[in-house]
C-alpha cells in the first residue's frame, strides 16, 4: 500500500536529487537548465517535507534545507497534490506563494523533469550508463527515505546496523548506511560495507531495477553477487520491492 506522505518524500528526497547528476552528464538536460538561473522551493503542508532545487550555470543542485530566499515557492496543501504533479495525473494544486511571475523558472523545471523521466525510462544505449548511475543513487536514497519514514519499513530497518552497498562491477556504486540513528544514503563505494549487492554490468542492473530478472538465479550464475550480511540483504530487498510499488 502506497503511503502518500512517504511517497512525497521519495519524490523530493530520492527522485529530485537525480537532477544534479542529470544536468552534469546529460547535454540536453544541461541545455535546459541553462535557460534559467534561480531556485524553486517545494513545501508540502505546514510540517511536511521540503526541498529546494537551484538551477545555476546549467547545473542543478538539490538541497533538503530551505534556501533563505527562493525565487519561486510552491506550496502543496496536501502531499497527494505534490505526488499528482510527479505522477502527472489527478489534482495537482500548488499554491505559488512566491514568484508567481517567474513562469520561465517553472517551465524550465517542468522541462527538466520531463527530460529526467525520459532518461530514466529510456532504452537507448547512449543513456544506459547514465540511467544506471541515476537509478543507483535513486535506489539508495529511496531506501533511506523508507527506513526513516515508512511506518512498517521503519520497524524492520531499525534492526539493521551496518552499510549496504550497491555496485556495478565495472562502474558506479551507491550505499546506504543504517548504522547511525538515521539512515543515510550516499553515492560511491562504502569504505567497509556489510552487505554488497554487485551486478555484472549496467544492463543487468537496469533489468533488475525494472523487475525483469530472477535475481537469485543470476546470483547462482555469478552475474549478481550477494556478499556479507544476507539478513540485511533480505531487509533491503523488502525496501526495493516497496520502491517498485511506490514509483510504479
Amino acid at each position: 500500500m502506497v503511503n502518500e506522505a512517504v511517497l512525497s518524500r521519495v519524490y523530493l528526497e530520492a527522485v529530485l536529487p537525480c537532477l544534479e547528476l542529470l544536468t552534469l552528464r546529460d547535454t540536453r538536460a544541461s541545455q535546459l537548465a541553462a535557460r534559467w538561473n534561480g531556485s524553486i522551493r517545494f513545501c508540502v503542508g505546514l510540517s511536511g517535507p521540503r526541498c529546494t532545487v537551484e538551477l545555476r550555470d546549467s547545473r542543478a543542485t538539490v538541497t533538503p534545507a530551505p534556501l533563505p530566499r527562493p525565487d519561486v515557492g510552491l506550496f502543496f496543501p496536501h502531499e497527494i497534490m505534490l505526488n499528482n504533479l510527479f505522477r502527472g495525473k489527478g489534482l495537482q494544486i500548488a499554491l505559488p506563494w512566491k514568484g508567481l511571475t517567474k513562469i520561465k523558472g517553472l517551465l524550465t523545471f517542468s522541462k527538466l523533469a520531463e527530460r529526467m523521466q525520459e532518461v530514466l525510462e529510456s532504452k537507448d544505449r547512449e543513456t544506459l550508463e547514465l540511467r544506471a548511475e541515476l537509478m543507483l543513487g535513486l535506489m539508495s536514497r529511496a531506501i533511506a527515505v523508507l527506513a526513516r519514514h515508512d511506518p512498517d519499513y521503519k520497524v524492520q530497518a531499525s534492526h539493521l546496523h551496518g552499510v549496504t552497498e550497491f555496485r556495478i562491477r565495472t562502474g558506479s556504486a551507491s550505499h546506504v548506511d543504517f548504522s547511525g540513528g538515521t539512515t543515510k544514503a550516499s553515492v560511491g563505494r562504502a569504505s567497509s560495507p556489510d552487505f554488497i549487492l554487485e551486478f555484472a554490468d549496467s544492463p543487468l542492473f537496469l533489468d533488475v531495477a525494472d523487475d525483469k530478472v530472477d535475481v537469485l538465479a543470476k546470483a547462482c550464475l555469478g552475474e549478481i553477487s550477494l556478499k556479507g550480511d544476507l539478513h540485511m540483504g533480505q531487509i533491503v530487498n523488502i525496501a526495493l520491492d516497496k520502491i517498485g510499488e511506490y514509483l510504479l
Binding site: 546496523h161 551496518g162 556489510d194 552487505f195 530472477d214 537469485l216 538465479a217 543470476k218 546470483a219 547462482c220 550464475l221 555469478g222 553477487s225 550477494l226 556478499k227 556479507g228 550480511d229 544476507l230 539478513h231 540485511m232 533480505q234 530487498n237 523488502i238 520491492d241
Partner: protein, 411 residues
C-alpha cells in the same frame, strides 16, 4: 585436485530457465559463496554426498536435518522399497499407519495420539488450527526469528502475504517470559496457542538454549491462561531425545510437531498431542493426497527402530561434542574468536567478532573446496553416520579455512 563445478553450473543454467530461482528454497549456501559450493548432488552415502562434478563432501547439513542415520541407509531404504513393491499411495490407509502411530505414542512422551502428514509445515499448520479449535480463540503467539514453514501465517515468505494472513499472530522474543506475559495481559482471553521451538535456532545468529526455569514457567503460564502449548520439534526432534525435545528440556507440551529426521529422508511428518486435545483433533478435517503413503511409514518404522537400537541421540551428541571442541581449539590456535552454540547434535559456529558473516562465508567456502559442507548462517546437523575419522578430516579442512580467514581478516 581443486574442486570445480562446471556441470553444476551448466545444469543450473538449464534450471534457471524452467524453475524460478533455479533451486527454490535451499539456495544458500551456494548463493553466498558462488564458485565454492556445488549446486546439484548426484549421489549420497553415509555422511557424504557427491555432486554432479564428482566432488565429494562430508555433509554437516544432512539435507537440512532429515538425514540422521546416513544417506542410503540399508535398513530404512529396504523397508521403503519393500513396502513400495506392495503399493504406495493406496485408496485406503494401510496397517502401517496404525503400527507407526502406536510406535510413536510409545516413544514420544507427550504423544497420546498421532496424525500424519508430509511436511513440517503441515504439522505446524494443523497444530495452529487445533489450538484455535480447542480454545475457540484466535491469536497465536510465535517467537521472533522462529521458523515454522513457508505458509502465510508463519510469515517467512516475502511474497503474497497479506496483513490479514498474520492478523492473529503475535510475536515475542524467544526465551523472554516477561514479554510473553505482557502479550498475555494485552490479549487476555484471546490467545489460543503458543508455538515455540524447543530451543532457539534462528539463522544469522547464535543458537540459544533455554534456562532451567524457562519451560516450566511457560507451562505454568499457559495452564493459567488456558493456552495450548505447542512445541515445534520439526528441526530438533529425534536428535536430542527420542522421547521428544520437550522431554529433553523437561516440559510436556500439549501438541508437538515432527518431521525431518523421522524417516531418515523420506517425506513424512506427524502432529502428536495430549489426551485433552484428542476430541478436537477428531473433529478436524486434515488430509492430503499422499498423507497415507505406506512406504514412507515403513521407512519411519525402520528409522525409529534403528535410532532406538543404536541410541542415535547419544551418538550424534558425542560426535557433535568432538566437532565443537575441535573447531574451538583450531580457531583459537589461529588466534580467531568463534562462538559455537546450540546442542552438540545440532551445532552452529560463527565468528564472534563480526555480524556481517563475511568471515563465515569465507571459512565455509574454503571448507567446501576441501570437501566439507558447512553452512555460513544456518545451524548444522550431525548424523550417526559421521565417524571420528570424518570429524578429524573435517577439522583438518577447518584448520585451513581458519588459516585463510586469519590471512584475509587478521583476526
Amino acid at each position: 585436485m581443486p574442486y570445480t563445478f562446471k556441470k553444476s553450473l551448466e545444469l543450473f543454467a538449464r534450471a534457471a530457465r524452467v524453475i524460478p530461482q533455479g533451486i527454490p528454497g535451499h539456495l544458500t549456501p551456494v548463493i553466498t559463496v558462488p564458485g565454492s559450493y556445488p549446486y546439484f548432488a548426484a549421489k549420497a552415502k553415509g555422511c557424504r554426498f557427491w555432486d554432479v562434478d564428482g566432488n565429494e563432501f562430508i555433509d554437516y547439513m544432512c539435507g537440512y536435518g532429515p538425514m540422521i542415520l546416513g544417506y542410503a541407509h540399508e535398513k530404512v531404504d529396504e523397508a521403503y522399497r519393500k513396502q513400495a513393491r506392495l503399493g504406495s499411495c493406496t485408496s485406503i490407509a494401510t496397517n502401517l499407519s496404525v503400527d507407526l502411530a502406536e510406535e510413536i505414542t510409545k516413544t514420544i512422551d507427550c504423544a497420546d495420539w498421532v496424525m500424519f502428514a508430509k511436511n513440517g509445515a503441515d504439522a505446524t499448520s494443523m497444530a495452529v488450527m487445533l489450538a484455535r479449535g480447542f480454545t475457540k480463540r484466535d491469536k497465536i503467539v510465535l517467537a521472533e526469528e522462529g521458523y515454522h514453514g513457508t505458509q502465510p501465517w508463519a510469515g517467512t515468505n516475502p511474497v503474497g502475504i497479506t496483513p490479514t494472513d498474520r492478523a492473529d499472530i503475535l510475536m515475542v522474543p524467544w526465551g523472554d517470559v516477561n514479554a510473553f506475559c505482557e502479550v498475555m495481559a494485552r490479549h487476555k482471553g484471546q490467545v489460543a496457542g503458543v508455538m515455540f521451538t524447543p530451543y532457539h535456532h534462528p539463522v544469522f545468529a547464535d543458537q540459544r538454549l533455554p534456562g532451567p526455569s524457562y519451560w516450566p514457567e511457560m507451562r505454568r503460564i499457559c495452564d493459567e491462561h488456558g493456552i495450548v502449548l505447542i512445541i515445534d520439534d520439526v528441526r530438533a526432534g529425534w536428535r536430542l531425545d527420542l522421547r521428544g525435545s520437550g522431554h529433553y528440556f523437561g516440559i510436556r507440551p500439549d501438541l508437538a510437531c515432527y518431521s525431518k529426521a523421522m524417516a531418515n529422508g523420506y517425506a513424512i511428518s506427524a502432529l502428536v498431542g495430549s489426551e485433552r486435545l484428542r476430541i478436537t483433533a477428531s473433529k478436524a478435517y486434515f488430509a492430503g493426497s499422499f498423507w497415507c503413503n505406506a512406504p514412507e511409514m515403513a521407512a519411519a518404522m525402520a528409522c525409529l527402530e534403528e535410532m532406538k537400537a543404536i541410541d542415535a541421540p547419544k551418538v550424534v551428541k558425542e560426535l557433535g561434542e568432538t566437532l565443537m571442541k575441535g573447531l574451538g581449539e583450531r580457531a583459537a590456535a589461529h588466534g580467531l574468536k568463534v562462538s559455537i552454540t546450540g546442542p552438540p547434535a545440532i551445532p552452529f559456529m560463527k565468528f564472534a567478532n563480526e555480524t556481517n558473516f563475511m568471515r563465515s562465508q569465507l571459512f565455509c567456502g574454503e571448507c567446501a573446496s576441501r570437501g566439507v559442507f558447512f553452512h555460513p548462517h544456518h545451524n548444522w546437523f550431525l548424523s550417526t553416520a559421521h565417524t571420528p575419522q570424518d570429524i578429524a578430516q573435517t577439522l583438518d579442512a577447518a584448520d585451513e579455512g581458519f588459516r585463510v580467514v586469519k590471512e584475509k581478516f587478521g583476526g
